[in-house]
Every structure is written in structure tokens, then in C-alpha cells.
């Protein structure tokens, strides 16, 4: 057995042993998490199925979109996979404590590279399969295809995932080796966002030039913009064409695309191993030897700290600044947030390029509230990903705060405030961008901004409160904290709250624009909706915070 096989066997063994960890959990927690997973898949299936029905009802252009949907879907997911692979490869290749351990063993470097690449593919692609499975099932049911279609999709997805992740990992190895010290991840993320922004602008350039007011004409103009996703040189095109050919029983054509994909997997495997062999070690040395240049930032921090000191008590300021410093000095943390919000920002900036502001009131209202949903959903995931594990990640250092004269309530409140400030600032800006670009009615503008602030408040409250309630100071791995029972519960509650507050506003405006509700009824309805928003936000924020505080006070450290 060679070293790579040994390492993979070890990985599988670790995965298998995970059952022992699951056994130690309460069955309620396991069932709750499993139910949430299944319900989310069913929910995604429902959304995709309704989407297909909607496109089908639209008629001609809608059917054209359905035909191109797979190419578009894989194109988008492929870009996200590349980005995700760039970030996870950095953690896997350059930050993992396993790397020095492996480098000290008599294992060929290329095997270490291959093993770490496989690890990074696994980490960056699970969400891809989580999305693609309900999408394909919805498509199969809608088109009345056999379940064999799902098999073809999975068969074609596997090489596609490896190609996208291979490109991401390869780029990262080269970027780390050749970019200036200390900033490879920041520069990679920035370059990626710019490239994506440019690609989106380029793709819709034709639409900007001459779109008419007529909606059908607009959609017709939009199709050429999607042509980029069906370019014969994109792997997304090979996947889409290949599996459609298989489903039509055009075996020769289908297998030709599969062979093309597999051959590219082979090429990228050789490239990753070869370039990894040449450049990984030097890049890794560069990361290890990089001097932490914090002096200039420290001056900025100090100035900010001075300003903050004017408004806040000393201990509170110290806690806030500590969290801010720790967060900003960990690129693996903020880079993911940047991707989350960066992609949304790019989309909102391009809303006018897409000519959405010229659509009818009904459509603009629908898009505005869908944008509210997307910003809120990102807020929920940011809360679950970054805010929830904050207290647990204090870990063994918690005694510093625990032994200080600062009360636990104050510690918790400082976490809440720092989370709320960041979430509110980013979400408010994004929401403002969205409603301004869409040129929606001032009522919708105000509602969207109010929802953004309320969401920021409740997500911060829930994530902080549940983080304290399900505190795990022994766990050092953020992923394990996030995927624990408390983390899942927090995510479920945040998503539930999101629907709870957005739906009444969206429904009110939907009926109002459709002239089903107007005048006094509408005004009273909106007043009630705002009162409801305030009440529900207060409950969703205060109850978890209260429970978390009570749990912290009762805890023995």
C-alpha cells in the first residue's frame, strides 16, 4: 500500500469512527439535526419544482431558460466551487497542523499534495451536492424523467467538481508561491470578485444596449447574455450536454463528454501534483516565515479604540476591540464573509444592467423581497458561521474573561453589540443598494431597511445567546461547533425568524400592488406589520440572550 492509499485509508477510518462521537450525542439532537437536513432538502426541492413550473407557465422564453438551465446552474456553481476551493485549500494546505506532521514522515511530497487536495475537494464540494441533488430530483419529477437521470448527473458532477476544485487549488499554490507575502488569500478573493464582476457585466452587455420595456422582449434579450454559460469550452457545458445526451440515450455523445471531463481531471491531477511538487514547499515556507505586519493596523485600531472609548466603558471597549482584532487578523474568517457579501454586492450593483428597474411594479416588488430574503439568508449563515462559535472558540482562554471583574452579562452583550454592528452595517448597505437600484416605492424601501436592521438584531441575539447556551470550550474546530446541535438549532431558528418577519411585509405589498388591499386597510395593515416586526424581533433577540446569560452565570469553568 503506498502512502497516499494509507492516508486515504486513515481518512476513511476517521470518518467511520465518527459514529462513536454520534453515539455520545443525545438521540434527540441527532434526530433534530437529521430532520433539519431532510426538511431543508425537501424545501429546496419544493422551491426548484415551483421554479420549473413558473418558467413553464411563462411559455416560450421560460422553456428556453429551462433548456439552458443546467449549463447556467453548473456554470454558477462551478465559479463558486473554484472560489470555495481557493479558500478551503488555503486552510488545508497552508494552515493545517497536519501538514508539518506529514512532512516529517517519509511520504513523497506529491502524495501529501494529492491527499490534501482530496481533503480540500471534500470540504469545498459537499454543499454542491447538497444543492444539486434536490435540483435534479425536481427537474426529473417535472420532466417525468427516470431516476437514472440522477445517476447521470452525479456521474458527470464528480469530474466537474474535481476540475473546478483542481483549478482553485492550482491557482492557490501559484498565488501563495508568487504573490507578496502575507496577502495571498486577500488578493485571491479580491481578484476573484473583480473577475466575476467583469464577467457579469460582460455577459449582460448586450442587454444594457437595447432592451425594450416589454418583459418578453427583455427576457429574449437576456438569453444571449446566458450564452457565455453554454460556451463549448466551459466544463459546465460538457456536463450539461453530456448528461442531457445520456438522458436522451445518445450514448456516444454522452460518453464522449464524460471522457472529455475525465481526461481533464487527469490533466489537472498531474498539474496539481507537479506544480505542488515544485512550488508547495516554497510557498509553505513563505507562509511560515511571513512576518506579521500589524504595526500600521495597530495604529488604526488604537485610533478607533480612542474614539470608541469616548462612548463606551473601558471593559466593554476592551472586549469589543479584542473580538474585532481577532476577527480581522484571521483571513480564513473574514474572507468567507467577504465572499458571502461580495457576491450579493456584485449582483445588486448589476441590477440596473439587468434592467430590473424597468420592470413592472409587481416584478420589482417580487425582486425586492427576494433580495431581502437573500440578504437575510446570508445574514443567518454569517450568524451561524461566525457569531455562534465566538464564545466557544474562546476555549481555554475563557478563564481570562471569566476571572476578570467583568460580568458575564456584559461579556455576552459585548459579543452581541460587535455582531450587530457588523451585520447591520453590511446588510443595511446591501439592502439600500438593492432597493435604490430597483427604484422601488418608498414604502418598500423603508420596509426592506427595517427588516435588515431587525434581522441583524435578532440574528446577533440568537447566535450570541445560543452560543452561550450551548457553550463548548473544549472544541477547537469551528466546523464542529457550527455543526453541533446548538449550531443547527441556531440556524433553524434564524431561518424560521427570517420567514416569520419577511412574509407579512411581502404579502402586504403583493396584495397592495395587485389592488386587493388599499387605503385605510393597507395603512393599518402596515402599522400592524411594523408593530409585529418590533415585537417578534424583541422576543427573538432577548429570549436567547437571557437564556445564554443564565447559562453562563450557572456554569462552572
Amino acid at each position: 500500500m503506498n502512502s497516499l492509499q494509507l492516508l486515504l485509508q486513515k481518512g476513511i477510518r476517521c470518518l467511520y469512527n465518527y459514529r462513536m462521537v454520534v453515539r455520545t450525542q443525545s438521540s434527540f439532537k441527532v434526530i433534530f439535526s437529521a430532520t433539519f437536513l431532510v426538511l431543508t432538502m425537501i424545501g429546496l426541492f419544493g422551491i426548484f419544482y415551483l421554479g420549473f413550473e413558473f418558467l413553464n407557465n411563462v411559455g416560450g422564453v421560460g422553456l428556453l431558460i429551462i433548456n439552458r438551465l443546467f449549463a447556467l446552474f453548473f456554470f454558477g456553481l462551478g465559479l463558486l466551487l473554484m472560489m470555495s476551493s481557493l479558500v478551503t485549500s488555503y486552510a488545508s494546505f497552508y494552515q493545517s497542523p497536519e501538514v508539518p506532521f506529514l512532512l516529517l514522515k517519509p511520504i513523497p511530497l506529491k502524495d501529501v499534495i494529492s491527499y490534501k487536495f482530496i481533503e480540500s475537494v471534500t470540504m469545498s464540494s459537499w454543499a454542491f451536492f447538497f444543492i444539486i441533488i434536490p435540483f435534479v430530483i425536481a427537474y426529473s419529477v417535472f420532466q417525468e424523467l427516470s431516476l437514472l437521470f440522477l445517476f447521470w448527473v452525479l456521474l458527470f458532477s464528480l469530474p466537474f467538481v474535481l476540475i473546478c476544485c483542481g483549478i482553485g487549488s492550482l491557482c492557490l499554490i501559484l498565488l501563495v508561491r508568487f504573490l507578496p507575502r502575507g496577502k495571498p488569500l486577500f488578493i485571491s478573493v479580491t481578484i476573484f470578485l473583480f473577475v466575476m464582476g467583469f464577467a457579469v457585466l460582460r455577459a449582460f452587455h448586450g442587454v444594457i444596449q437595447d432592451s425594450g420595456a416589454d418583459q418578453m422582449m427583455f427576457l429574449n434579450k437576456l438569453i444571449p447574455g446566458f450564452r457565455i454559460t453554454s460556451h463549448p469550452l466551459w466544463p459546465s457545458y460538457w456536463v450539461a450536454e453530456g448528461m442531457m445526451s445520456m438522458s436522451r440515450m445518445q450514448w456516444g455523445r454522452g460518453f464522449a463528454f464524460l471522457a472529455l471531463l475525465v481526461s481533464w481531471v487527469g490533466v489537472l491531477n498531474i498539474l496539481v501534483r507537479q506544480f505542488g511538487g515544485w512550488f508547495f514547499y516554497d510557498g509553505w515556507q513563505k507562509v511560515l516565515s511571513a512576518e506579521s505586519r500589524v504595526s500600521r493596523k495597530s495604529i488604526m485600531f488604537r485610533r478607533f479604540e480612542n474614539v470608541l472609548g469616548l462612548f463606551t466603558p473601558c471593559d466593554f471597549k476592551a472586549l469589543l476591540m479584542k473580538d474585532l482584532r481577532v476577527f480581522l487578523r484571521d483571513p480564513a474568517q473574514w474572507s468567507q464573509g467577504l465572499i458571502f457579501y461580495g457576491i450579493l454586492g456584485l449582483y445588486f450593483i448589476n441590477l440596473r444592467n439587468l434592467q430590473y428597474h424597468t420592470l413592472s411594479d409587481t416584478w420589482r416588488s417580487v425582486i425586492a423581497f427576494l433580495n431581502v430574503f437573500s440578504v437575510s439568508a446570508v445574514m443567518c449563515s454569517v450568524g451561524a458561521r461566525f457569531v455562534y462559535p465566538q464564545l466557544s472558540l474562546e476555549g481555554h482562554g475563557f478563564w481570562i474573561v471569566g476571572m476578570s471583574p467583568v460580568t458575564m452579562g456584559r461579556v455576552l452583550f459585548s459579543k452581541f453589540v460587535s455582531a450587530w454592528l457588523v451585520l447591520a452595517a453590511v446588510s443595511f448597505t446591501l439592502m439600500y443598494l438593492s432597493v435604490e437600484m430597483l427604484r422601488v416605492d418608498s414604502g418598500i424601501k423603508f420596509a426592506a431597511l427595517a427588516i435588515a436592521l431587525a434581522m441583524a438584531c435578532s440574528v446577533s441575539g440568537m447566535s450570541t445567546g445560543f452560543g452561550a447556551l450551548f457553550l463548548d470550550l473544549k472544541q477547537r474546530n469551528p466546523a464542529a461547533i457550527i455543526s453541533s446541535f446548538g449550531g443547527t438549532l441556531n440556524l433553524v431558528m434564524s431561518l424560521g425568524f427570517m420567514f416569520l418577519i419577511i412574509v407579512p411585509f411581502a404579502a402586504m405589498y403583493h396584495f397592495h400592488i395587485g389592488q386587493h388591499v388599499s387605503g385605510l386597510w393597507f395603512r393599518n395593515g402596515m402599522t400592524l406589520a411594523y408593530l409585529y416586526l418590533i415585537a417578534v424581533t424583541a422576543i427573538a433577540t432577548c429570549v436567547p440572550m437571557f437564556l445564554g446569560r443564565r447559562s453562563l452565570l450557572a456554569r462552572e469553568f
Binding site: 470518518l15 465518527y18 462513536m20
Partner: protein, 238 residues
């Protein structure tokens, strides 16, 4: 067995190790001492090939660390101050995995592990996941895994951290026994009485420079310091 010449390492503007040279023979236990941040761990990491020096050469067992790293890794073992372990492997699985990496066959593995597992008191924990082990047990497992590979040269960074007095004594005796059998050990520690009791020779590094090498008696005589190693260390590194 270990030959280091003019070794230097910079981290940005900070020169962590400056022109360090030393020669350590076969079957010698060499204690590398120094205040916090003096450059001990950086030196060890360069010797193991984990860090690339800015200048200088390192030869381990006659192999150049940078040019023949695979050969070096076959004959060396490294126990870092905060060792890495796979939390989701059991003790037995981890030892078997390490044995396989070093090409121990099934028979070789069975012969070697039985003794080590017993010596390090891991018999009752063989089926436990590593994540469930206490700090001390994890440290013992790291020793067992490192010795399983039968290294000719062992680098140990802070070997007694988190160990109880029984384990410390057992490890002291084990290290001495290994040295008598021809193993070369290069270790760093802050526990000076232990270093004094264990070491054949010591090296003292301060602010990246090797300021003294030799037996405690030789260094004391050369620097005209009376007293034990602690007095000598304080005198030299003040």
C-alpha cells in the same frame, strides 16, 4: 550524527537564529537551552526540515536536510511541544498508521507496539479515540508513535510538558537507555535540573546566537561561574 554550520533564519526583520554551528555525535544526548524566544524551536524545525534556513547547512546522519529530506525523515523522529494527533483515530489505529508509514510489516508492528503500549501505560486505552485522552496520555502516545519508527536521531521539544512525575521518570530512563543503545537525542527544555541530570553536553542559545556549547563543568570553568546549571544559565543569558 548532527552537523550544523553557520545556520541563520530570519522572519521578516527579526533574525531568529544567527550563525549557529554545532556538532553532535552518535549516542549523545544534547540539551539545547535558552530563554523564551531565543530560537530553540526554530533551530529544531530547521534541523527537521520544517523550516528552510536563510543560510548555513545541516547534515543529519550524513544526509543534507534540504537535499535529501526523505532519507533524513526515515532516520529521525520529532516530538514537538504541541504535537499533532488525529482525534478521530483510536490509539491502536494511530500506532498502526504510523507503523505503516514507516513500512513496518504486520509482524514488525505487533512486535514493537506491544512493548511500547505497555511501557507508556496505554494498554487500557487502545480502543479509545484520541480526542478522549487526557493531555498526559496524548503525550505518551506521541512518544510511543515516535519510538515505533525506531529513529536513529530524535528531536524533542519540551519533552516533559504535561507529564506526571511517574511519566517524567519513566521517560528520563527511557531516553538514557536509548542513548546508551546508540540513539542521538537533541532536546530542548526549561527544566534545568532535568537537563543537568540527563545531558552529555548542553548548548545555550540566546537572542538567536549560540553562546555556549559543552558539558556543564566545561562551560562553568570557561565562564568562571560557580554553582549549578541554573546559576550558569542565568549568568550567561542575563
Amino acid at each position: 550524527m548532527i552537523r550544523v554550520e553557520n545556520l541563520s533564519k530570519r522572519f521578516g526583520d527579526v533574525e531568529a537564529v544567527r550563525n549557529v554551528s554545532m556538532d553532535i555525535g552518535r549516542g549523545e544526548l544534547f540539551c539545547f537551552l535558552g530563554p523564551n524566544g531565543a530560537g530553540k524551536t526554530t533551530t529544531i524545525k530547521m534541523m527537521c526540515g520544517l523550516l528552510r534556513p536563510n543560510s548555513g547547512t545541516i547534515q543529519i546522519g550524513g544526509f543534507d536536510v534540504m537535499e535529501e529530506s526523505t532519507e533524513v525523515r526515515k532516520i529521525t523522529g520529532y516530538i514537538p511541544d504541541t504535537p499533532f494527533l488525529y482525534d478521530l483515530l483510536t490509539v491502536t489505529e494511530f500506532l498502526r498508521f504510523t507503523g505503516d508509514l514507516y513500512g513496518l510489516g504486520r509482524n514488525g508492528y505487533a512486535r514493537e507496539t506491544g512493548e511500547l503500549v505497555e511501557f507508556f501505560g496505554l494498554v487500557n486505552h487502545q480502543g479509545s479515540l484520541i480526542k478522549d485522552l487526557s493531555h498526559g496520555l496524548r503525550q505518551r502516545l506521541v512518544y510511543a508513535a515516535t519510538l515505533l519508527q525506531k529513529p536513529q536521531i530524535m528531536f524533542v521539544d519540551e519533552p516533559f510538558v504535561g507529564l506526571d512525575p511517574h511519566s517524567i521518570r519513566a521517560i528520563k530512563e527511557l531516553l538514557r537507555k536509548k542513548v546508551e543503545n546508540g540513539m542521538t537525542i537533541f532536546l530542548t527544555t526549561h527544566i534545568l535540573p532535568l537537563a543537568e541530570a540527563l545531558a552529555d553536553r548542553i548548548g545555550i542559545i540566546s537572542q538567536g546566537e549560540l553562546i555556549a556549547v559543552g558539558s556543564v563543568a566545561d562551560i562553568s570553568a570557561k565562564n568562571k561561574v560557580a554553582g549549578d546549571l541554573e546559576d550558569l544559565f542565568i549568568h550567561l543569558t542575563e
